[in-house]
């Protein structure tokens, strides 16, 4: 925006916003580990990384949502102390989150002026003038009087962006702005962002899509596991380089894995369609088969249908069409407890929201879902003796570090949380294990432990469907690799027959022909 451009006194190209050794720790995880990033004035700077790499946490620190535990943020060379987003906006930093902060029943104008009015009365005429000017200037067709709740998601994003610019910010942070857009919408957004950059606005764009980085950015900083891998000029790299930086070539550890022959299919997913419940990542005719005694790794960037696939297999949601068979039985419409009784273990991606009762004790979580099994209850009354015995045995054999079995689960570290889930899920000698991001957020030891257990289960004869964004993990554990993109499996191969880069390209939505041209 013009306002933003004119207010900038310093010349383009010099550092405007700098994060110095920024560290942010959440209970059990280091989200940002001594992160250094330099944002230059009037550039489009991408923060690239896998899910959980710490991109959004970093942005939230720059926007004052979080305060760093260590390190500092400098704006135009001066230390910046932000206690809230309001402070950030006053300092000229605005952010548009993935989840919009709009008031749906109110009009576009009203949404834009919320929070901007220092005076007692609303001056909507001025807002309307600027809004109409802005929309006309950038060829965006939105009626300023329209009710925001009735606009498309893409249009709502424009309202969010303009709302932020209306505050007169010089730095605009966008968190995965293309997730909600159509390809045409993305093109339009990029065109306008480029023009805003040319007019002096500094733009920080969070993404995990390689193509967007290449299309749009001037420079890119890659984050992995909370650390900065490096900052590069986009012109100096190609998608392959970025993919390598993003997933990391250095192998954490070598899994000890013997060759294995797949047996009878334990999971047959045939052409299923399932609408996403979040607006992202629906299934569009996905098929995949897992045999007993094999690990099928599903590689993919988050939001391409992994959640929906997990939900469909464990029975939390049912596909609109297609079929799912587990151990030969049709479970397309089966309820989760019925599927569990077929010998299906599930390790959800979000262990806190989907896998555990954080306010329950450790032992209660160890029997969660099996509380009606004869082992743990008779006639509806819990058998405490058996539960205690089982908990003690699990804590011992899965090396769960907890002061006692009665400890409230919330107090445990991420690795131990996952061990509780593993102990619970593997207790019944499952035929099929569905694991989604089983090592995300875990330290090396816990990661290794979880991987070793999965391989043990495979050797015992279980089929494992492993969904992961960690390509090292996929390569180390899988007997077959499938790549999920846009709700479909777009490639199936074996680890020996492919490369990290090839899989990465498939994950980024590039077809084989694209690769050939590079």
């Amino acid at each position: 925006m013009a306002d933003a451009a004119e207010s900038g006194a310093a010349a383009p190209g010099e550092n405007i916003l700098v994060a110095e050794e920024v560290t942010k720790v959440f209970p059990g995880v280091v989200a940002n580990d001594a992160v250094n990033v330099e944002i230059r004035r009037a550039e489009i700077h991408c923060l690239l990384g896998e899910n959980g790499a710490g991109k959004t946490t970093l942005a939230d620190i720059l926007y004052g949502v979080y305060q760093p535990d260590d390190g500092r943020v400098l704006l135009e060379g001066k230390p910046l102390e932000l206690h809230s987003p309001r402070d950030a906006i006053e300092a000229g930093i605005g952010m548009v989150h993935q989840h919009f902060e709009l008031v749906p029943p109110m009009s576009v104008i009203e949404n834009v002026v919320i929070g901007t009015q220092a005076r007692q009365w609303l001056d909507l005429t001025e807002a309307r003038r600027r809004l109409e000017e802005f929309f006309a200037d950038y060829d965006v067709e939105i009626d300023p009087e329209a009710e925001v709740g009735r606009l498309s998601v893409g249009e709502q994003q424009w309202v969010e962006i303009f709302k932020t610019l209306y505050f007169g910010v010089e730095i605009l942070i966008l968190d995965e702005p293309t997730a909600v857009l159509t390809p045409q919408g993305i093109e339009e957004l990029f065109r306008i962002l480029r023009r805003m950059r040319d007019e002096g606005l500094t733009i920080i764009l969070i993404t995990h899509k390689l193509k967007e980085v290449m299309d749009l950015s001037d420079r890119v900083t890659v984050l992995r596991r909370g650390k900065v891998v490096g900052t590069v000029d986009t012109a100096d790299v190609d998608q392959r380089d970025l993919a390598r930086m993003m997933v990391g070539r250095d192998v954490l550890m070598q899994a000890d894995k013997a060759a294995s022959e797949a047996g009878e299919p334990v999971l047959e997913v045939d052409e299923i369609h399932l609408e996403s419940d979040t607006g992202r990542g629906s299934l569009e005719g996905l098929s995949i088969t897992v045999g007993s005694g094999e690990i099928v790794g599903v590689a993919g960037v988050s939001g391409n249908g992994q959640n929906a696939l997990f939900d469909a297999v464990v029975g939390v949601r049912h596909p609109a069409s297609g079929s799912i068979r587990i151990a030969g039985q049709d479970t397309t419409e089966s309820a989760p407890h019925r599927i569990a009784t077929l010998g299906v273990a599930s390790v959800p991606a979000d262990r806190i929201a989907q896998g555990l009762m954080m306010d329950f004790s450790v032992k209660e979580n160890l029997v969660l879902g099996n509380q009606r099994e004869r082992q743990f209850s008779r006639a509806g009354i819990l058998n405490r003796g058996q539960i205690d015995a089982f908990a003690a045995e699990s804590i011992d054999s899965f090396e769960i570090k907890t002061p006692s079995a009665s400890q409230i689960t919330r107090t445990l570290s991420g690795g131990n949380l996952q061990k509780i889930i593993m102990a619970r899920e593997l207790s019944g000698q499952p035929q099929l294990i569905v694991a989604h991001q089983p090592t995300r957020g875990l330290d090396i030891a816990a990661t290794e432990y979880v991987r070793r257990r999965l391989i043990q289960e495979r050797d015992r004869g279980a089929g494992v469907l492993l969904m992961s964004e960690d390509l090292d993990e996929i390569f180390q554990l899988s007997d077959r690799i499938a790549v999920i993109y846009d709700g479909r499996i777009v490639a199936v191969t074996e680890p020996d027959a492919t490369t990290l880069e090839q899989i990465g390209m498939h994950m980024a939505g590039a077809s084989d022909t694209d690769q050939g041209s590079q």
Partner: protein, 388 residues
């Protein structure tokens, strides 16, 4: 530690779609101290919660004391006469237990539903439904021998209360209708229904008033003492508290309803049928309020009239449950304390001229402060290093 990656923080609802950063904490954003920071405790020791509750009640006493001073009465005199009326002698203490009886049951009604994360605000209506059920059994099966009739009447009360609650839970499970709204509105519906019954089908022949006939004496609940109204219903309430405690802590159903109260999503991923659990807990909840209705009818009033339910024990039960932090044993203690307030208020009014309505203020202030204390318990102040 340094190898760990960002994961979603504690409260993030769907971290798969966004990274660490989702669980923004309004309280810590509200307070922006320089060197001190308010942060969430991972776990609060139960004994802290007890202390916090006691501190909250002490502050309540101070606030009420100040109010009393404004009226021009010595707080000590006011509290003394309040205590005298509530527990000062055998007679008033027993009467306090009489008043506590329905509050224990309606308190349990709210507590078990809230435990499951289901906001049953319809205890009052379910209480009325219970009285209606009692009368219906009494009216329909006059020939039953006394012991059977007692059992049948209490069952009738429980079933009617449960059914009335189930109306709301079915709407919730089938159509996602907000149970707070439906339970509140059902309170009005049954009030009107009762009016119709009392002025129509069930109206007593011998009076012009909207009321039922007086029940025959063989249906009166036995009383413990000759000089007190304390009836068997109090024992029933204590037994139900024990039953609910056992149900919540020791049964699979209790396990599942606590699970849906803590985390519905994880519960459904682990095969708990959330809908069935909601239906079950609401039925139990409504049955408890229904039993309270039966106890009041058979133990004290022996007829239903417009006054019935006028004490709004269903609503007070909600406050009882919340102040008791949803623990059955706590419900007994708080119900007796609140009954003492109600009972002592009359004495206080006579003795000091302070309106008995002050009791409502005490209940309200206590509720707000106890809830604040409960929230405060989850945080701690920590000194942080200063940057920049």
């Amino acid at each position: 530690m340094s190898e760990q990656v960002a994961d979603a923080p504690q409260d993030s609802p769907r971290p798969d779609d966004h990274e660490a950063g989702a669980g923004r904490d309004p309280l810590s954003m509200l307070f922006q101290p320089g060197a001190w920071r308010l942060e969430r405790r991972l776990h609060t020791r139960p004994v802290y919660e007890l202390y916090a509750t006691l501190i909250a009640l002490a502050i309540t006493a101070v606030i009420i004391g100040l109010l009393v001073i404004i009226v021009g009465v010595s707080p000590l005199d006011a509290f003394a006469s309040l205590y005298e009326g509530a527990f000062g002698n055998r007679e008033s203490a027993l009467e306090t237990l009489v008043q506590a009886t329905p509050l224990i049951l309606t308190g349990l009604c709210a507590a078990i539903a809230f435990r499951a994360g289901v906001w049953n605000i319809g205890g009052q209506g379910q209480f009325i439904a219970g009285a209606i059920g009692t009368w219906w059994v009494y009216d329909t099966f006059p020939g039953l021998p006394a012991p059977v009739l007692f059992v049948a009447m209490f069952c009738g009360a429980a079933v009617f209360g449960a059914v009335w609650a189930t109306v709301a839970s079915v709407l919730l499970v089938r159509y996602g209708t907000n149970e707070i709204l439906t339970t509140v509105m059902l309170n009005f519906v049954i009030d009107s229904g009762l009016s119709w019954l009392l002025s129509g089908p069930w109206q007593a022949n011998d009076t012009p008033y909207s009321q039922t006939e007086r029940m025959v004496e063989s249906t009166f609940l036995p009383r413990f003492f000759d000089d007190s109204r304390l009836h068997l219903g109090f024992a029933l309430a204590l037994v139900m508290a024990a039953v609910i405690h056992f149900l919540v802590r020791r049964t699979t159903l209790g396990f599942e309803l606590r699970a849906i109260g803590v985390n519905k999503q994880a519960a459904s991923y682990k095969g708990v049928s959330v809908g069935a659990a909601i239906i079950a807990v609401m039925a139990i909840s409504g049955a408890l309020a229904g039993l309270a209705g039966a106890g009041e009818l058979l133990g004290l009033h022996h007829r239903i009239n417009f006054e019935f339910g006028g004490q709004a024990v269903g609503f007070t039960g909600i406050i009882v449950a919340l102040v008791a932090r949803l623990h059955p044993a706590g419900v007994i203690v708080v119900a007796i304390a609140f009954a003492g307030l109600l009972n002592g208020a009359t004495q206080m009014q006579v003795g000091t001229g302070i309106p008995a309505a002050l009791v409502d203020v005490i209940e309200g202030v206590a509720l707000v402060l106890v809830l604040l204390a409960a929230v405060a318990c989850r945080y701690r102040l920590r000194k942080i290093a200063h940057h920049g």
